[in-house]
Symmetry: C2
Subunit: 240 residues, 2 copies
Amino acid sequence: MTDRDSLPPPPWVRGANRGRRNLSLNAIMDSAMRILETEGLEATTMRRVAQDLGTGAGSLYAYVQNKAELHELLLDAAMATIDIPEPDPARWREQLMDLLLDTAHALIAKPGVARVALDTVIPTTPRALQLMDGVLALLHAGGIPPRDAMAAADALSLHLTAAAYEMSLTTDPAATARELQRRTSQITQYLDILPPDRLPRLRASLTLFTDGEDAQPDGLRLGLEMLLNGLLTRVRPAQQ
Amino acid sequence: MTDRDSLPPPPWVRGANRGRRNLSLNAIMDSAMRILETEGLEATTMRRVAQDLGTGAGSLYAYVQNKAELHELLLDAAMATIDIPEPDPARWREQLMDLLLDTAHALIAKPGVARVALDTVIPTTPRALQLMDGVLALLHAGGIPPRDAMAAADALSLHLTAAAYEMSLTTDPAATARELQRRTSQITQYLDILPPDRLPRLRASLTLFTDGEDAQPDGLRLGLEMLLNGLLTRVRPAQQ
DNA sequence: AAAGGCTTACGAACACTGTTTGTACAACAA
DNA sequence: TTGTTGTACAAACAGTGTTCGTAAGCCTTT
């Protein structure tokens, strides 16, 4: 298995093993991860983490450049459970789908981490690079030319991340379940006021929409299957 | 053309025609839109809008329930330029692609609005409902069964919104162009430190990645084409 | 061993944020 | 004319990220 063992920390992370006294990057990450798991990303603020460590918010800036960097490190930590397979040309598609679903589940598991992934223009964190390399390897094993593979990997990871983000909006607290109820009732309430010939397709499909709540977790797999099928049947853009 | 004329305001919008004195929802929206266009979504705060109207932040709460609702109204206003076509079964696919690209461009045109679309679990605003109805109409015209059409519309709009959001992260200020440069240089810098046999696929594709900046605007169309192709060749999930 | 420099730690401060509350005022209905 | 309704506004609350000055500690050099 290539690239499964953990990589060394990137050089731009300031205080990897630097803390001489009370604090350390490990301690900060432990506190931040605990807060992330129990209170969500919104609550994972500099002040909250510092309070958990019994210190001031300013002290964290010796180990971390930004709140954004701290969140990115949390994203990297959340991807620890993903393991990248050795490509098997006979099973590459199944392997790829598993890898993508694993990644999505890792993002959903830690609430709010999907938003970090979406906010990060290009992920530069070690595990993100490993993941990208793994996806490219599987696509190459499937016979996809490198130029198409890059574009496909982009589309797949974008879709995956967005779907994970959307799901972590609705599954986090029970409060957002009420929010979803409020939304759908808003729509029906609005449709009742409108002339009955307006928005007919939406009217017809609304029952599928509300029932689709349970089937929505499959929506992720469905979108990814669509993308993969489309990739295989598509006219190559390099030749077009 | 069905549903092209503007719809009446939804009943839950409080002060549609209510302002008896200085303020009004229209004035608030005008100020907010001007600030959105010139300073971005982050700067479009309650206090900033109120200051632009020469009043206090609290006054806005007579016309708008939340900052979130104000942002949603801005999203709705940004979608004003999209026109929904009358489905022509012979050209449905081209029509659909145009509609989706139009929507994406509308989201990108007003900086930060794509984020609002992504944060909104289910868009309930009039124009969003019109758009959804229009997409469903085109899919039905293409012979897609209603159940699949709903799932496809979900996947397409998710992909579209996420791509628009990603693009508005890198195109907004020139500062983020430097950020993108910093990211790629971080990656190469990191790869130089690693053993040269690690992440080989990413190494090989990195040149395509950096060159891909110019071709990235086509990434959106490419992803949507993949989704559409995949939809047409996919085994129907209802029978599986 | 003593001195210097570097870095962590910490609290205070700055400039913000969304939202709530109390009070004053204007306009409409009875 | 009185009363009710809902707008306007300022102040206040509880937060936020980040910067800065100061004090203390450790390591290295003299």
